[in-house]
C-alpha cells in the first residue's frame, strides 16, 4: 500500500459524502405552504355522530388544532395516541382539537376510531373535500395549528407528536393570557 497516494482517495470521497450529508438535512418535498402566518380558511362542517355544525369563526379566541386524517392512512395510526393525549391535556384550557375525515367514509372512520380505542376530540366531515382543498392538503395526515385570532401558525406534514404540539401551543396560550 502506498499511503500517500491513498490519501487521494480520501480527498475525492469527502466532498461527495459532504454533499449527500447536506442533502439529508433538506426535505425536497417540503414546498413551503403559504398558509402559516395568514388567516386560516374559514369552514363550517358537520360533526360526525352529532347534529351540530362547527365553524372556525365561532372558535375565535381559542387555539384550534385541525388534524386531517383517514382510516386508510398509516401514519395517522402513529400519531393518534399523541393527539388524543394532547387533546386531553389541553382540555378546558382554551385549545380545541378537531379531526377532519379526509377522503373517507364515516363508516370507515367510526370503525377506525373504535379500533384505536376511541378519540378524545370530535371529527368533522368534509364532504367533497372542500376544506381539504382550501387548506392545500397533499395527503394525510396533515395538522394545522391556528391561533386565537384565526391565523395559521404551523402546518405539519406527516405524523405530529405530543412534544411538538406542546412546543407550538404553549407559547400561544402564554401570549393569550398576557394580552
Amino acid at each position: 500500500m502506498n499511503w500517500r497516494r491513498s490519501m487521494i482517495g480520501l480527498v475525492i470521497s469527502v466532498p461527495v459524502i459532504a454533499l449527500l450529508a447536506y442533502g439529508m438535512t433538506q426535505d425536497p418535498s417540503a414546498i413551503a405552504s403559504p398558509l402559516p402566518g395568514r388567516a386560516a380558511p374559514e369552514f363550517e362542517l358537520a360533526i360526525m355522530d352529532s347534529p351540530d355544525d362547527v365553524s372556525l369563526e365561532e372558535l375565535r379566541g381559542q387555539v384550534v388544532v385541525l388534524n386531517f386524517w383517514a382510516s386508510w392512512c398509516y401514519e395517522c395510526r402513529v400519531e393518534h395516541g399523541d393527539l388524543s393525549a394532547a387533546a386531553s391535556y389541553y382540555e378546558g384550557r382554551g385549545v380545541r382539537f378537531f379531526g377532519v375525515l379526509y377522503n373517507d367514509t364515516p363508516v370507515n372512520g367510526r370503525r377506525w376510531i373504535a379500533m384505536m380505542g376511541g378519540q378524545s376530540y370530535p371529527t368533522l366531515l368534509d364532504n367533497g373535500s372542500r376544506t381539504a382543498i382550501d387548506y392545500g392538503l397533499y395527503g394525510a395526515p396533515e395538522t394545522f395549528v391556528i391561533d386565537q385570532t384565526g391565523n395559521v401558525i404551523h402546518k405539519q406534514i406527516g405524523a405530529i407528536t405530543f412534544t411538538r404540539l406542546r412546543e407550538l401551543i404553549d407559547p400561544l396560550l402564554a401570549a393569550g393570557t398576557t394580552e
Binding site: M1, N2, W3, R5, S6, M7, I8, G9, L10, I12, S13, V16, I17, L19, L20, A21, Y22, G23, M24, Q26, D27, P28, S29, A70, S71, W72, C73, Y74, R77, N103, D104, N108, R111, M115, G117, S129
Partner: protein, 662 residues
C-alpha cells in the same frame, strides 16, 4: 408467531454475518484455514436465515396477519393474491428484506463456486460480501424492521401503492432490478479481495466476468421493463423521464457496460488494470448511491419511498464503502501496472478506449444532472430541477457517437490490421450510412440529430449483421452446413463474440425505436361526446361510451372507443381510470394498440358523470415496439455470451478451460 420467526431470522442473520466478517478477516490475515471454513459456512447460514425471513413475510402477507407492521402497511384483504405476494417489495421495509434475500443468495452461490479456490482473495471476498450483508440485516433489525408489532392488530390494511398493483410488470420489474443491482456486489467483493490480498493479476476478472454479465443482463431487462411499465401505466405516452430513480438504475448500467468492454482489453492485452478496478468499484457504489437516493428522501422523485432514519444508515454505509474502496484503490494503484500497450491507433483496443471514454462521460453527465439540484441548493440555496432538456441535449450526441463506435468496433481487429482490408470490411456499412442520410433528407426527417441517429444506426447494424453473415458463409463453405446449422455452430463456437454482436443489434434497435418514437410522436387532447370521432395521423378513433363498474379492490371507469384506419375497423380500445380503495387519485390505465410499425395510445383524462362526454389524449408513436424487442435482444445476446463455450471436455473442467481459453 410468523412475526417472531421473521424477526429472529433477521436478527440471527445479522449476528452470523458480523461473526463471519470477523472470522474471514482473521482467517485471511493470520492464515487460519479453519476460520475461513467457518466464515464460509456463515455465508450459507445467512442465506438460509434470509430465506426463512422472506418466506415468513410472504406467509404473513398471504394470511393477512395485520399484527405484522409491514403487512398492516401494504396488505389488504381485497388485493388479489398475486399483488399480495409481490407487495413483498412494494414498500421500503419489504424491499430491503427482499434485497437481503437476493444478496445472501448471490453470496452463497459465489462463495460456493469460487470461495475455496482463490486463497486469501476468496476469503477477503467472503468478508466483503458478508459485510455488505451485515449492513442490510442491520437495516432490517433497526430502521427498516418489517416485523414490528402492531397492537391492536387492525382488521384490514390499505393495500399496496396503487401504482404498483395496477400492472403485472410490477411483478417483474423490481425483482429484475434487485437481481441486477445486488449482483454487482459479487464482482465488487472479488475486486476488493484482489486489492486486499495483493493478487492483482487477472484472476478476479476471470472469476467475476460471468457475474458482471448476469447482473448486467438483469439490469438491462429491469430498465426496459421499467420503461415499459411507465409507458403502460403512467399515461403520458413516454417511457423515460430522466427521473432520479431512473437515472439511479441507468448509471450502474453504463459503468457495467463500459466494464464489459474494457475487461476484454485487460484479458487480451493486459491493459487497463487500474481502470477496470475503478469501473467495478464505481458500479457498486452507484448501485448503493441509487438505493440511497430513492430511500433517503434526498431527491424528490415519483418513485421515492418514504423517508426516515434509514437515510442516515445509508449515508454512513456509502461513506464507509467510498472511503475504504477509494483509499484501497489509490494505495494499490501503483502496483496495478499493466504490461500491454497500444500498438496501432486503428485497432479494436482503441475503439474500446473511446467506448469507455464515452460511457464515462455519459455516466458523469447523468450523475451531474441527478445531483445538480442538491449542489445548487447547497451552494446557492435555491431549489432547481434539472429536466429532460438538459439530459437530452447532453446525451443524444453521446448516443450517436456510441452508435458510430458500435459500427466501427467489430470491423477492427485486435492490435490493428491492414488499412485496405478495413476499407473493404466497412464498405457496406458506409454505403448504408450514405443511403440513410440521403433518404432521410429526401423524406424530410425533422431534426439533424434524428438523421444522425438513423444513419449511424444503419451503419452499425450493417457492420454487426455482416459479421454474422461472413461467419455463416465461411462455415457453409468450409463444412457444407445448412443456414440454421451454420448460424448455430458459429454462435456456439465463439459465443462471447457473437453474443456481444447480438447485444449490439438489440441496442441499435432500441436506439432506432427511441429516435423514431420521439421524432414522429403525434399527440392530441380532445373532448368527445358518444359517437364523435377524432383523427390523429391516419388513425380515426370513435368514442362509443363510458361506463363504471366495481371490482373487489377498486372502482373502474372504462371508456370504450373504436379505432379505424381509413374505413377499416381495428377493434375496440378501452382506456380506464382505476380508483383504488382509500386513495383519492385515480390510476390511469391507457389502452395501447402496439404494432411493429407504430402504437396507438389512448388515455382517459376526464369524464362527465352522466356519460355525455369524455376527454382523451390520443397519441401515435412509431416503432415503440422495437424498444421492448431490442431490450429483449440485448438480454439474449448477454445470455449467449455467458454460455460456456462448447468444447469436448468433461463438464467439471469445462468452466476452467473456458476461463483459460477466454
Amino acid at each position: 408467531m410468523t412475526r417472531i420467526l421473521g424477526l429472529s431470522a433477521t436478527s440471527i442473520a445479522l449476528i452470523v454475518a458480523v461473526y463471519g466478517v470477523v472470522a474471514a478477516l482473521l482467517a485471511a490475515t493470520r492464515r487460519m484455514p479453519r476460520l475461513a471454513e467457518s466464515a464460509r459456512s456463515a455465508v450459507f447460514a445467512t442465506f438460509g436465515l434470509m430465506t426463512v425471513a422472506n418466506l415468513a413475510m410472504i406467509y404473513g402477507l398471504v394470511t393477512h396477519d395485520f399484527s405484522i407492521d409491514y403487512v398492516a402497511q401494504v396488505g389488504s384483504r381485497s388485493t388479489p393474491l398475486l399483488f399480495t405476494v409481490i407487495s413483498l417489495w412494494s414498500s421500503l421495509e419489504g424491499s430491503i428484506l427482499f434485497w437481503g434475500w437476493v444478496l445472501s443468495g448471490y453470496s452463497a452461490i459465489a462463495i460456493w463456486l469460487h470461495g475455496r479456490r482463490l486463497g486469501s482473495m476468496g476469503v477477503y471476498a467472503n468478508a466483503v460480501l458478508l459485510g455488505i450483508g451485515a449492513f442490510f440485516y442491520l437495516l432490517l433489525v433497526g430502521p427498516a424492521n418489517p416485523f414490528g408489532l402492531v397492537s391492536p392488530a387492525p382488521l384490514d390494511g390499505p393495500g399496496p401503492n396503487p401504482l404498483l398493483q395496477n400492472h403485472y410488470l410490477m411483478a417483474i420489474h423490481p425483482p429484475l432490478l434487485y437481481f441486477g443491482y445486488v449482483g454487482m456486489s459479487v464482482p465488487f467483493a472479488f475486486a476488493i479481495g484482489a486489492l486486499l490480498s495483493g493478487r492483482l493479476d487477472q484472476t478476479w476478472l476471470r472469476v467475476t466476468r460471468r457475474w458482471t454479465l448476469v447482473s448486467w443482463i438483469f439490469l438491462s431487462l429491469a430498465i426496459i421493463a421499467g420503461m415499459w411499465w411507465s409507458y403502460d401505466v403512467l399515461g403520458w405516452g413516454g417511457y423515460w423521464a430522466w427521473d432520479p430513480v431512473e437515472n439511479a438504475s441507468f448509471m450502474p448500467w453504463l459503468t457495467a457496460t463500459a466494464f464489459l468492454h474494457s475487461s476484454m482489453v485487460q484479458e487480451r492485452r493486459d491493459m487497463l488494470r487500474f481502470w477496470n478496478q475503478s469501473l467495478i468499484i464505481s458500479t457498486f457504489l452507484l448501485t448503493i448511491l441509487g438505493t440511497f437516493l430513492t430511500r433517503s428522501g434526498v431527491l424528490s422523485s415519483v418513485h421515492a419511498f418514504t423517508e426516515g432514519t434509514i437515510g442516515l444508515f445509508f449515508l454512513a454505509f456509502i461513506a464507509v464503502v467510498l472511503v475504504f474502496s477509494l483509499v484501497l484503490l489509490m494505495g494499490r494503484g501503483g502496483e496495478l501496472r499493466q504490461t500491454g500497450s497500444l500498438d496501432d491507433p486503428l485497432s479494436r483496443e482503441t475503439v474500446f478506449l473511446a467506448n469507455n471514454l464515452l460511457f464515462t462521460l455519459f455516466t458523469f453527465t447523468v450523475l451531474l444532472g441527478t445531483l445538480f439540484p442538491l449542489v445548487a441548493e447547497a451552494v446557492r440555496g435555491v431549489k432547481v430541477s434539472v429536466g429532460a432538456p438538459f439530459f437530452n441535449r447532453m446525451t443524444i450526441p453521446l448516443c450517436v457517437a456510441l452508435l458510430f463506435l458500435v459500427g466501427v468496433g467489430p470491423a477492427l481487429p485486435w492490435r490493428g490490421g491492414r488499412r485496405d482490408q478495413l476499407k473493404r470490411t466497412l464498405a457496406p456499412s458506409l454505403t448504408a450510412l450514405v443511403v440513410t442520410v440521403a433518404v432521410s433528407f429526401a423524406i424530410g426527417v425533422p431534426s439533424g440529430w434524428a438523421i444522425a441517429a438513423f444513419s449511424f444506426a444503419a451503419f452499425a447494424m450493417v457492420t454487426n449483421v455482416q459479421e454474422y453473415a461472413r461467419g455463416v458463409l465461411a462455415r457453409r463453405r468450409a463444412h457444407g452446413e445448412s443456414w440454421p446449422q451454420a448460424l448455430y455452430r458459429l454462435m456456439m463456437a465463439n459465443n462471447r463474440r457473437y453474443g456481444g454482436y447480438m447485444a449490439h443489434i438489440g441496442a441499435i434497435l432500441v436506439a432506432v425505436g427511441i429516435t423514431a418514437s420521439s421524432a414522429y410522436r403525434l399527440e392530441r387532447e380532445v373532448t368527445l361526446s358518444p359517437g364523435q370521432s377524432v383523427e390523429v395521423g391516419d388513425y380515426r378513433v370513435r368514442f362509443d361510451q363510458v361506463e363504471a363498474f366495481e371490482e373487489p379492490h377498486r372502482w373502474v371507469i372504462r371508456a370504450q372507443l373504436t379505432a379505424f384506419t381509413g374505413s377499416r375497423e381495428l377493434g375496440v380500445m378501452d382506456p380506464r381510470l382505476n380508483f383504488y380503495n382509500g386513495r383519492a387519485e385515480p390510476i390511469t390505465t391507457p389502452a395501447v394498440r402496439s404494432r411493429p410499425n407504430r402504437d396507438l395510445y389512448l388515455n382517459l383524462l376526464a369524464f362527465e358523470r352522466d356519460g355525455s362526454n369524455a376527454t382523451f389524449s390520443v397519441i401515435v408513436e412509431p416503432l415503440v415496439f422495437w424498444i421492448w424487442f431490442g431490450g429483449f435482444v440485448v438480454a439474449i445476446g448477454g445470455l449467449i455470451a455467458m454460455l460456456p463455450p462448447r468444447r469436448r471436455a468433461p463438464r467439471r473442467a469445462a468452466d476452467r478451460i473456458a476461463v483459460e481459453v477466454a
